[in-house]
Amino acid sequence: MLDFTAMTLAIGPELWLAATGLIGVLLGALLKDNFNGLSFKFGALVLFAAAGIAAVTYQGGEAFNGLVETNTFVNFAKIVSFIVGGLALVMSEGFLKRHETARYEYALLTIFAALGMGIILSAANLMTLYMGIETLSLSSYVLAAFHRDSARSSEAGLKYVILGSLASGMLLYGASLVYGFSGTTFYAGIAAAEPSVGLMFGMVLMIVGLAFKVSAAPMHVWTPDVYEGAPTPVGAFFGAAPKMAAMVVFANVMFQVFGDSIDQWQLIITIIAGLSMLIGAFGGLTQTNIKRLLGYSSIANVGYALVAVAAGKELGAGPLLTFMTLYVVSSLGLFAAVLAMRRQGGMVEGISELGGLMNKRPWLAIALSILIWSVAGLPPFGGFLGKWVVLEAGVSAGLYPLAIILVIASVVSLGYYLRLIKIMWFDEPTERFEAIDGSVTLVVLASSLFVIVFMVFFVLLSGWATQAALGITA
């Protein structure tokens, strides 16, 4: 006998996404190409509604005999992921239309990717987790290769699929080891199991797999290539929605499944975090393609987020949510700005093309500068406080070397953030860009407003995040 109330409370958003995704497939089969235009609005509405459902069922619950279990911590991540995912979809349409690839499959794949995100966040069992990861990954592979006539896009998709399968394999192997040595696939059961070497082996392999999904070093090599090769709106989506979800899942697994053996994994996460920050900072310095540059920027930012994970559940859960929310919103805005870099005959991606943007489109330049300062973690914008809470968590946990690395990486990465600012403000104008889609302008402005508003009213954002973190700490 299925208990629908409990199911809805636990995984309402996922049920909704699965149902609407299938309805979308039916609509696509019936309406064929007539559905293409409508599908983007349909997909965005579905995602926003999913965020709404996650908000209504915020307290979460348990269903399917404990295969899924949700709480405020993961629901917070769901809300943010679905909203930024929806926004990414909204601003994709114009781009895809111009490339004559505005097909309804795009929106449906986004919905299924969101479904995957929801499932991994809700999972309380390694099998559920793996299913969710595969749902998310398979949708992502196809999205990366969505421009199937473009060699670059296909290459990005292929690279992603090969490396992604390797990572999934590692994750699965790790999960099976964990199952073998603990005798259960339930999070709670593994957490209660007697620690053993085999369990630790499994844990390390799972960390490798998860680190790939969040693009943490040294499992980051795919990121710049995929960000560069995939169609720009896909990059925007990858950099925002799955990033948030995967990061929180990573933390959730470490906190919930291996929470008691933090002594065993803290050093691993510390090293991964430090490497990510340094590689992200130094790797970005020589990039001339803005999408690759954002790829490195995302590696560095994942490193910052991992500092919060390394700080442990009590100290790190709230700061992680705060930091990631500010980061994914800014990242979405930055990619929106890349979408605005369009002139006669197609997109441009060289960062020098931003030259003199301040003269041509002052408001876009100002909004973009605000986002860049914010991602760089400079006051007076929200990103600064995001970094502040992460640093606070790290220092409280006694992770001083990480705090120092964070500082060094911030200065180094400023080298490329400042270069972007320099190009926009100091250099002579290059060619004039074409008119920008309204939705793109909206996203850029909204995300830059977001980092200002939540600087001033930071207590709201951090309060929500701290409340949400109680879902796993209380």
Partner: protein, 498 residues
């Protein structure tokens, strides 16, 4: 004074003004994106009005301020996030620096009247935003809030150097930014640590909180990294000559006049009262660095061929006196250091304006290109003479008071340090008089100089008030000492553990 948040008004008035100017510009710009000369003038005028109004508000704060009452005054406090609060207040240390800021900003904008011709609206906006951050640094009574203002000020200054600067502006802007940022991020780690350990980032709590002496050493070094770059101290001063040379005149004025003072302010506000043990520990090292700064950079200044570079190096030397006074831990030394900061704000600001006057005419800062200016520009030569003397530290000018008091303070703590600093006074006479002789005296050798006109009315309006104040504080230094006495005493009593 009712409940009116006068300090918030003071801090954010320029920012609000900047937003209004931007909004008006956006509304009137229409389709053409390039501004006309008229629009630029209007923006400058609006900027002048706003910064003038800010100055009036700071005067109001000055009148409400009671030097006899100890502690912070006009305090406003609202919780911001956890134990971090939005807390503003002033004392005898910050008030003179705030007045200096609000006084110099309108002068800077006025000085740009004839020298900035491109993107004037953005220039005015950048300056007003910078003013908000500068005032915020001095009014903030919460460490995190202070840090935010402290670092945020880099952004507008970066843009001012990078957009309106000279030939190598990009290099200078990056160097300025990265040097300063590396220092302040190290401070950030210390700030986080202090916040976690003391459970608050409120100045008044932190001043009373006794940090473990061993930890103090590290915290002190982290703060020092930031303030030493900002002040700047030898050997991390190398960004300053580049930034000064490339910045537009007004940028140099504000850089030398206010931004450098944040370093001295930081030492007095944090290093001394919060880390007294570490401050004592590092006193000899700071004296050594101060004396090296004074002697070495004075000698370097002597060999410069670029006028702005010469004055920039002289700034480093004069900031050495501030370090000397601060780390003497005596009342006279600390008072002298504060006085020296104010006085140097006027004098170096004026010297950069003086260089700007001839630069606007000749578009070169090479000393060799000048000579014999006195024949063509007698008024200019007179004012230049006054500030040369003030920079040398001639009695009767404010420069003298600052140098003598810091040296007296230094003498009480270390005879050798004072002796070394005294050497610097002699060197400053050497390089300043050399500069003056080579540019102003002699015969005109460069034929281009023949067409020069003396200072115009705008230039006089910007420089004469600074001249008057330099003389006024030279003969009546008590005007400042009355304000700063209480603050100096309370810093020293906090140091002594009171």
């Amino acid at each position: 004074m009712g409940g009116f948040p006068i300090l918030s008004a003071l801090t954010f008035l320029p920012l609000v003004g900047a937003l209004i100017i931007m909004a008006v510009r956006a509304a009137t710009a229409g389709s053409s994106s390039s501004e006309t000369a008229n629009e630029g003038r209007t923006a400058l005028l609006a900027g002048l009005v706003i910064s003038g109004a800010t100055f009036l508000v700071s005067l109001a704060a000055f009148f409400y301020f009671d030097p006899a009452t100890p502690g912070y005054q006009l305090v406003e406090q609202h919780v911001w996030y956890q134990n971090i609060s939005y807390k503003l207040g002033i004392d005898g240390l910050s008030l003179p620096l705030i007045l200096l800021t609000t006084f110099l900003t309108p002068i800077c904008l006025l000085a740009s009247w004839n020298s900035i011709h491109t993107r004037v609206t953005e220039y005015v906006v950048a300056f007003l935003v910078l003013e908000t951050f500068m005032i915020g640094v001095f009014t903030a009574l919460d460490l995190v809030l202070f840090y935010i203002f402290f670092e945020a000020g880099l952004i507008p200054m970066f843009l001012i150097i990078g957009i309106w600067g000279g030939k190598d502006k990009i290099y200078a802007a990056f160097k300025f930014f990265l040097y300063t940022l590396l220092g302040s991020l190290l401070m950030l780690v210390a700030v986080v640590y202090m916040y976690i350990t003391a459970g608050s980032s409120d100045f008044e709590v932190l001043e009373k909180f006794a940090f473990d002496p061993h930890v103090q050493t590290w915290l002190w070094l982290a703060f020092m990294a930031s303030f030493a770059v900002k002040l700047p101290m030898w050997p991390v001063h190398t960004w300053l000559p580049d930034a000064h040379v490339q910045a537009p005149t007004a940028g140099s004025v504000i850089l030398a006049g206010v931004l450098l003072k944040m370093g001295g302010y930081g030492f007095l506000r944090f290093s001394l009262p919060m880390f007294p043990d570490a401050s004592h520990l590092f006193q000899p090292a700071m004296f050594a660095l101060a004396v090296i700064a004074i002697v070495y950079t004075s000698l370097v200044a002597w060999r410069q061929t670029d006028m702005k570079k010469l004055i920039a190096y002289s700034s480093v030397a004069h900031m050495g006196f501030v370090t000397l006074g601060v780390f003497s831990f005596t009342e006279v030394g600390v008072q002298g250091a504060i006085f020296q900061m104010i006085s140097h704000g006027f004098i170096s600001g004026a010297l950069f304006l003086i260089v700007g006057v001839v630069y606007d005419r000749m578009h070169t800062r090479e000393i060799a290109a000048y000579g014999g200016l006195v024949h063509k520009m007698p008024v200019y030569a007179t004012l230049f003479m006054l500030f040369t003397m003030a920079n040398v530290g001639l009695p009767g000018t404010s420069g003298f008071i600052g140098e003598i008091l810091t040296m007296v303070g230094g003498f009480q703590a270390s005879t050798w340090a004072a002796a070394g600093a005294a050497l610097g006074v002699i060197f400053s006479a050497v390089y300043m008089l050399t500069l003056y002789r080579r540019t102003v005296f002699g015969q005109i050798t460069n034929p281009d100089l023949n067409g020069l006109k003396d200072m115009n009315r705008i230039e006089l309006v910007t420089i004469v008030p600074l001249a008057l104040l330099t003389l006024l504080f030279g003969v009546a230094p008590n005007l400042i000492f009355n304000l700063t006495e209480g603050a100096a005493l309370s810093i020293l009593s906090l140091m002594a553990g009171g």
